[in-house]
Symmetry: C2
Subunit: 228 residues, 2 copies
């Protein structure tokens, strides 16, 4: 039979959102020791009878009220002393989501006092090794931006090219040339130009586009998940 240890698995989630031209992540305020009152990534312990992928979804839901994100594992942290109370190995996941003013963030367990969006710049110190986890995750999506349809999960269904560009700039942390960016994006052929325009802006309204997931998959003929 298998030996038994007092080892614990957990999941930690780095959830990216994009709002007001800024890239943000989801943090919770902890309501339990250790690190009570600290800010942390949403994370909790994996149950016996659920896969880690399932656990990631459940835990995120319980801590933030968010459901049905497409979560992707990116690294496992297994230093001996990363948790002050015992051995905890954690599998880190990221997900990307459109921040939607409507959707309220409300933890369904007492473990988190609240959940909220925080800009990725000027992040405060986080509980445990969560700052390191965040950095690792941020590097990961930065790299994947080039070969995974990451950006479109962060934008509303209909978006302008300028919004898309400013998202790229936020993730890559660099300015891009407008003409070259548009040329390249459009040349891929997976953006569908709509007959609609932006509304409610006090300047010339921009055309709206949609991401065509099927064309993307055909073009890159991967299953959009090739990197596992």
């Amino acid at each position: 039979m298998l030996p038994t240890f007092d080892s614990v698995f957990s999941i930690d989630c780095v959830i990216f959102g994009f709002e007001a031209g800024e890239l943000k992540i989801l943090l919770i305020e902890r309501n339990e020791e250790p690190f009570k009152d600290w800010l942390a990534l949403p994370g909790y312990i994996v149950e016996q009878d659920e896969s880690i992928d399932d656990a990631a979804e459940r835990i995120l839901y319980e801590l933030t009220g968010l459901r049905d994100l497409h979560m992707q594992q990116f690294h496992t942290f297994g230093e001996v002393n990363r948790h002050p109370q015992g051995r905890v190995i954690t599998v880190a996941y990221y997900a990307l989501i459109r921040i939607n003013g409507q959707k309220e963030l409300r933890p369904v367990t007492q473990f988190a006092r609240k959940a909220f969006w925080h800009p990725v710049n000027e992040l405060p110190k986080l509980a445990f090794d969560h700052s390191e986890i965040f950095n690792t995750g941020f590097n990961k999506i930065r790299r994947r931006l080039n070969y995974q349809p990451i950006a479109f999960e962060l934008l509303p269904e209909k978006f302008t090219l300028t919004q898309l560009q400013s998202l790229y700039e936020a993730i890559l942390n660099m300015k891009l040339d407008k003409r070259n960016f548009r040329k390249k994006m459009l040349s891929y052929g997976f953006l569908k130009e709509l007959d609609e325009k932006q509304k409610g802006v006090s300047y010339r309204a921009a055309k709206l586009y949609k991401f065509d997931r099927r064309k993307y998959a055909k073009i890159f003929h991967n299953d959009m998940n090739l990197d596992k």
Copy 2:
């Protein structure tokens, strides 16, 4: 306090080597149930007081006698029923090594009957979900080949450009153009041409080259480990 579960962590290793123009991986023959007598990736259980990175090194050593490889985590497998006797979550690592006829592979535990190199083509069915683990790892290094100095860990210290090319071809599973390949490799500037030539071949001896790790790091100005 932390809850206690009968959960077990393990490590599984996909160790690549290159010999006689063929890419190979290291397998063991299991000497214990479950899957007794099956072929499997080297893998075993993580102890309480060691980090997963340390565990990976230790376990590989115990099962194969190999030491001091540079092991890199690539994915964690956490399906509920991946192990028939209980819940086992496994963190998979890969490493690359020069196969060296001299170095004998000898397990230092009874758990593995023997360890040996097997070509990555025509792999037999492996124990547990190890076939899936292998595939995931192979895809990973295939992708990383372009931005990590993976190839040079598989070759002897001094190598010819033809050897380097045939390694690329083995990993990418495609033919490459000789002139373009050489031009490109040399243009990077991290290959150092030696004054030596190949010996003992019955045809024109090729120049030998060395990989210059420092120049590589300077050129790509990453710490060679950016992908974590």
